[in-house]
Amino acid sequence: MPANPPYVFSAMRAYLTRRLVHSIIIIIGISMVVFIISRITGDPVSIMVDFTTPQEDREIIRKELGLDKPIPVQYLIFLMNAAKGDFGNSIRYEEPALDLVFQRIPATLRLLVFTIGWSLILAIPIGIISALKRNSLFDLMGMAFTFIGQSIPSFWLGIMMIMIVGVRFQLLPISGYGDGDIAHIIMPAITLGAFGMASFARITRSSMLAVLDSDYIQTARAKGLRETFVVIKHALRNALIPIVTILGLQIAGLLGGAVITEQIFAYPGVGWLAVQSIYNRDFPVIQAIVMVVSIGVVATNFLIDIIYTLIDPRIRYDKGK
C-alpha cells in the first residue's frame, strides 16, 4: 500500500477536530437537559428533602444551593460543579454521588464487553454465510432466528431463562455478581445482547449482499482470485463499515437495556444503581448517572469516528456533517 500523502493526514486531523468540537457541544447539551429536568417542578428542593421538612429548613437549603439566584447563573454553577465532578451527595448513602457511580462502572463495562463480544461473534458469521448462501435453508433459518431475536422483549427473555435455566435445571446462578465469574454473567449478557445480535446479523447479511454484487468484487473474481480470499479480503472489509455504524447507534440502547437487565438479575452495575435510586428518590445519583453514561456514549461515538477514518479511506478526504 502506498504511503498516504501529507494532505491526507491534515484532512483527517480536520475531520477529527470537527468531530471533537461536535462531541463537546453535545456534552454541554446533555448537561442542559439534566439541569432542566432537575428544574421541571420549579422547586428542586422538593426532590431532595422529605415532605416533612419545615419551610425554614427548605429556605436554608435553597440559599446553600444558590437557588435564589437567576436560572442562567444556577446553570453555570451546576456546570462548574459538574466539571469538577461534583453532583452533590447521595441522599441515601450520604457519599458523593459520582463516587457511587464510579464504583459500579466496572461491573457494567464487563457486562457490555461480554454482550457485544458474543453478539458479534455469532452475528458476523451468520450474516456472512446467509449472504453467501442466499435463499438456502441456512439463510432462511438464520433470518427466522434473527427475526425472533429482534422481536423478543429482553426482560421476558431474562425471566424465561431464570425460570428454565436457573430455577428448573439449576445450571446457572440467577442473580448477583458472584466474585466476577463467568457463570454470573452468561444470562445477563444473553438477555442484553439478543436484540443487538439479531440486528448485527441482519446488517452484515444485507451489506454483504450489496458488496458481493458490486463491480470490484466481480472484478476480483474475474481475476481468478479464490472465493474465500475475495470474501475475506475484499467483501468483509467493506461490509464491516455499516456494522461499526450500527454499533455506534446501539451503544445508547445497550446502556439503556443494561438498566433493565441489571434489575432482572440483581447485577450490581450502574443500571441497578439507577433503579435503586428511583426507589430512594436519590436525584443527585440519577443526575450523575445520566451525565456519566451519556458522556460515555458520546466518547464511544468519537472513538467510532476514529475507527471510521482507519477503515474507510473516503472519510479521510471529505466528510461533511
Binding site: 453535545i26 437537559v33 429536568i37 417542578t41 422483549p153 438498566v259 428511583i278 448517572i289 451519556s294
Partner: protein, 286 residues
C-alpha cells in the same frame, strides 16, 4: 409519489403483510373490545383461587383458562386489558413523536441553516442519553402516571422521524418539480404541504410501524421497572414484574404476558418489513 392502487395490489400479494395483518387485526380487535371479550374484570380477585395453573394443567379451576395470579385475578382477562393499554399508549406516544419529528424535520430540511443546526444538535443530544435513563430522571421528578409515561416516550422518539424527513426534504428540495413550483410563485407552506410532505409518506409509514414496536416494548420495560403503569392497572410489563416473585411456583404468570408482547411485536415487525419491501426498498438497512 405513492400510487394507491398499485401499492394495494402489491400489498395483497405480499405474504408477510397478509400474515402479519391477521395478527394485527386480532390484536386491535382484542384491545378495542377488551371489555366484551375478557371473561372477568381485570381487578376481580378470588383469594381462595390464587395461583391456579392454566386449565389444561388439571389442578386449575375450570373458568380461568390461563390460570390466576397471586391475588386470584384471571390472567387471561388481565392480558386482554393489558393489550388495550399497550396499544393505547403505543398509538398516543407514536402520534406525539411523529407529529413533533415530522414538523421539526420539515423545518430543518427546508429552511436549513441555523434551524437545521439547532434541531439536529438537539436530536444528537437526545440520542446520546439512553432513553430509559432519561425516562427515569423525568419520572423521579414528575412522578409516574400514564400521562407522564406517554409524554416521556413521545418526546424521546421524535429524532428518528426528524432525521428521516429532513434527509428526504433535503433531496426533494433540489428536484425540478419543486423548482417549478417556486417559479409559479407557490408559497413555502404550499410547497411543503403539497409537494414535499406527501413524498415522505412512504418512508414515514415504514418508520411509524417499526417505531410502534419499539414504543410498545419500551412501555412494557418501563412498567416492568415500576415506572410506567402502576398496579393494580393491568399492563403486560407490570404483570411480568409481579411474576418475578412467583417464578418457581407459577410459570404461567411470566410466560403468557411475555408471549403476548412477543407475538404483537412480531406482527408489527413483519408488517413493517413487508411494507418496506412494497413501499420503499431503499430502506433495507434501517
Amino acid at each position: 409519489m405513492i400510487k394507491g392502487s398499485n401499492v394495494l395490489r402489491k400489498m395483497r400479494g405480499n405474504k408477510m403483510i397478509l400474515f402479519s395483518s391477521i395478527i394485527l387485526v386480532i390484536t386491535v380487535l382484542v384491545g378495542t373490545f377488551a371489555n366484551l371479550i375478557a371473561p372477568f374484570s381485570p381487578y376481580h380477585q378470588e383469594l381462595e383461587n390464587k395461583l391456579k395453573p392454566p386449565l389444561w394443567r388439571g389442578a386449575g379451576t375450570r373458568i380461568h383458562f390461563l390460570g390466576t395470579d397471586h391475588l386470584g385475578r384471571d390472567v387471561l382477562s388481565r392480558i386482554i386489558y393489558g393489550v388495550r393499554v399497550s396499544l393505547l399508549i403505543g398509538i398516543l406516544a407514536v402520534t406525539i413523536s411523529a407529529i413533533f419529528g415530522i414538523f421539526l424535520g420539515l423545518i430543518a430540511g427546508f429552511y436549513g441553516g441555523i434551524f437545521d443546526d439547532i434541531i439536529m444538535r438537539i436530536a444528537d443530544v437526545q440520542l446520546a442519553i439512553p432513553l430509559i435513563l432519561l425516562a427515569i430522571a423525568v419520572i423521579v421528578v414528575l412522578g409516574s402516571n400514564v400521562n407522564v409515561l406517554i409524554l416521556v416516550i413521545g418526546l424521546t422518539q421524535w429524532m428518528a422521524y426528524a432525521r428521516m424527513v429532513r434527509g428526504e426534504t433535503l433531496s426533494l428540495r433540489e428536484k425540478d418539480f419543486i423548482m417549478s413550483a417556486y417559479a409559479v410563485g407557490a408559497s413555502d407552506l404550499r410547497i411543503i404541504l403539497r409537494y414535499i410532505f406527501p413524498n415522505t409518506l412512504a418512508s414515514l409509514m415504514v418508520l411509524i410501524t417499526l417505531n410502534m414496536a419499539l414504543v410498545i416494548v419500551l412501555e412494557a420495560g418501563l412498567s416492568f421497572l415500576g415506572l410506567g403503569i402502576q398496579p393494580p392497572e393491568p399492563s403486560l410489563g407490570t404483570m411480568l414484574s409481579e411474576s418475578k416473585n412467583y417464578i418457581s411456583r407459577a410459570w404461567w404468570l411470566s410466560t403468557f404476558p411475555g408471549l403476548t408482547i412477543m407475538i404483537i411485536i412480531m406482527g408489527i415487525n413483519l408488517f413493517g418489513d413487508g411494507l418496506r419491501d412494497v413501499l420503499d426498498p431503499r430502506l433495507e438497512n434501517y
